[in-house]
């Protein structure tokens, strides 16, 4: 085995990414007495002015990556807060217009939980089913629209599957009907082009730590033309034009700015390299019998690959792959024993849903990492299948659906 591989191998970039060393340098320049540590809201001295300048430069980098005006970017503590601010902010501001919201069953919990909260407050929410490839069809949205619908919230790239929704079609529908359109784009930056100058999207959530920036910082795009208004969820000083109060964390903001600046510059090179790694991985893993890729392969990003290894239980596979850091579904749900709600929404049977593993590649993944991982997967799947009574039944030609299982 190659001695250039560092164990364990990190293949969970969709969960979080390491901070790029260039970003880390930028962050550390904005912390100490000899650095740019001031409060960006301080108007009376140079420390404040310098910090404000750094914050605004970072805002431009973020805006530049996604094709919007810097004045349309509101800093938040992350994509979760951005989702909360967008959904609750629209609901609270426009509730006199209507109290119906449309979202999907495969959104991140950062969208689903605020929607649940709004239901407790008297709003109605429609949770759309994806198709079996994990895509939300514009037709299903059209069918769900009502007179009192005020908001559609649909994710761009699904965090478990990597599938990509058609923002243009959904956004056009929303525009025609005069409904606000929010998009959770936590998985998108640095992976696909986003141009908000032409996309019919009103609000978009971003995260720094999925794009080689620090955790604890994100942003919400709030369109100025046509103007979108939201009610603030955090009060205390009126920062960010009243939409999100709280002293701006300069070091995290410049970290996000630098990460997004690098993403703009290096996205194509990153994409090209990751696609090669993905193809190498997929070509080899698809030679294993009875594996299923979850999510529409023709409509997904290459940095995420979600595979079900039939007749092998997911947690045991993760345990057998202890030198590889991967996840079964979203990290936020991996403490529970439930199979992924995303895979269930695709209509995957429980046993296939619970045999799924999400591999996600990133900027620092090497070819050696992929080769080593492939060796381990082949070995682990073979061993666990040797141990699996279901595999034995499959080889004996027994249809598992006809077995009278003794559930407990």
């Amino acid at each position: 085995m190659s001695n250039t591989v560092n164990l364990p191998i990190y293949l969970d970039y969709a969960s979080t990414t390491p901070v790029d060393p260039r970003v880390a340098k930028k962050i550390s320049d904005h912390l100490t007495l000899d650095g740019n540590f001031g409060n960006p809201a301080s108007r009376s001295h140079k420390f404040g002015w310098k910090a404000e300048e750094a914050v605004e430069e970072a805002r431009s980098h973020v805006a530049n990556l996604v094709g919007c005006d810097p004045r349309e970017i509101v800093w938040t503590s992350g994509a979760t807060e951005a989702d909360n601010l967008a959904i609750k902010g629209i609901a609270n501001f426009y509730q006199s217009k209507g109290k119906h919201i449309i979202t999907s069953k495969i959104e991140h919990k950062a969208v689903l939980d605020p929607c649940r909260q709004l239901e407790r407050e008297g709003f109605e929410v429609t949770y759309l089913e994806p198709n079996d490839g994990g895509i939300i069809s514009p037709e299903s949205i059209l069918d769900a629209i009502r007179e009192d619908t005020i908001l559609i919230s649909i994710m761009h790239i699904n965090n478990e599957l990597g599938t990509v929704n058609d923002l243009v079609s959904i956004g056009k529908l929303a525009r025609e009907k005069g409904i606000f359109f929010h998009v959770d784009a936590a998985q998108s930056t640095g992976k696909v082009d986003i141009d908000l100058s032409s996309l019919p999207v009103d609000l978009m959530s971003f995260s720094a730590h999925k794009t080689y920036g620090p955790k604890g910082i994100g942003a919400l795009f709030v369109r100025r033309k046509p103007r979108v208004r939201i009610e603030a969820q955090i009060h205390g000083g009126g920062h960010e034009r009243g939409m999100r109060s709280g002293t701006l964390p300069t070091h995290q903001i410049v970290g996000m700015g630098e990460a997004f600046r690098i993403a703009k510059k290096e996205m194509n090179a990153d994409k090209e390299r990751i696609e090669l790694l993905h193809n190498k991985f997929y070509e080899s893993v698809s030679k294993i019998e009875e594996i299923y890729v979850n999510g529409d392969v023709n409509n997904k990003v290459k940095n995420i690959l979600n595979i079900s290894f039939a007749y092998v239980e997911g947690e045991s596979l993760i345990m057998a792959l202890k030198d590889i850091a991967v996840s079964s579904g979203s990290a936020c749900t991996s403490a529970s024993l439930e199979p992924s709600y995303v895979l269930r929404a695709l209509g995957r049977k429980d046993e296939l849903a619970s045999s799924s593993i999400r591999f996600s590649f990133g900027r620092f993944t090497t070819e050696e990492d992929v080769e080593y991982t492939l060796t381990l997967i082949n070995h682990a799947v073979e061993r666990l299948r040797e141990l699996s009574p279901l595999w034995e039944m499959y080889l004996d030609g027994i249809d598992l659906n006809t077995v009278d299982w003794q559930t407990h």
Partner: protein, 134 residues
């Protein structure tokens, strides 16, 4: 999932040396073989346990055991642990094995207690199957 070292070791040893840890199958039609299969794919675990017995005087002794388990790491470790407890025991002694014995032997976390219950069910069923054949 924070497993005890015992679970992790048992799991790893079992998958790395399946033959040594009694992974396999007997022909379920043989008269001296009892088969138990419990659990369901939809629940995330299925255990198949087979005992091969020999009659000695007025009792029957478990001479050999084979098993296969689909499930989480602790389900695999639990069945492997149970198998070791069984070999050489009389059926009466085997019936006395309770899930708590497996919980204690492996230091299973509370959320994984059901794995040990499943293991206990599998031996009960295998013994029942064997006794019906006699």
């Amino acid at each position: 999932m924070a497993y005890s070292k015992k679970v992790v070791d048992k799991f790893e040893n079992t998958i790395n040396e399946p033959a040594k840890f009694n992974v396999g199958r007997f022909d379920p039609k043989e008269m001296n073989v009892g088969t138990g299969m419990v659990g369901a794919p939809a629940c995330g675990d299925v255990m198949k346990l087979q005992i091969k017995c020999e009659s000695q005087g007025n009792t029957h002794v478990i001479k050999d055991v084979k098993f296969k388990t689909y499930g989480c790491g602790s389900a695999i470790a639990s069945s492997s642990e149970l198998v070791e407890m069984l070999i050489g025991k009389t059926l009466e002694e085997a019936k006395e094995i309770k899930n708590i014995d497996i919980v204690e032997a492996l230091e299973l976390p509370p959320i994984k207690i059901h794995c040990s219950v499943l293991a206990e069910d599998s031996i009960k069923q295998a013994i029942e199957d064997y006794e019906q054949k006699q």
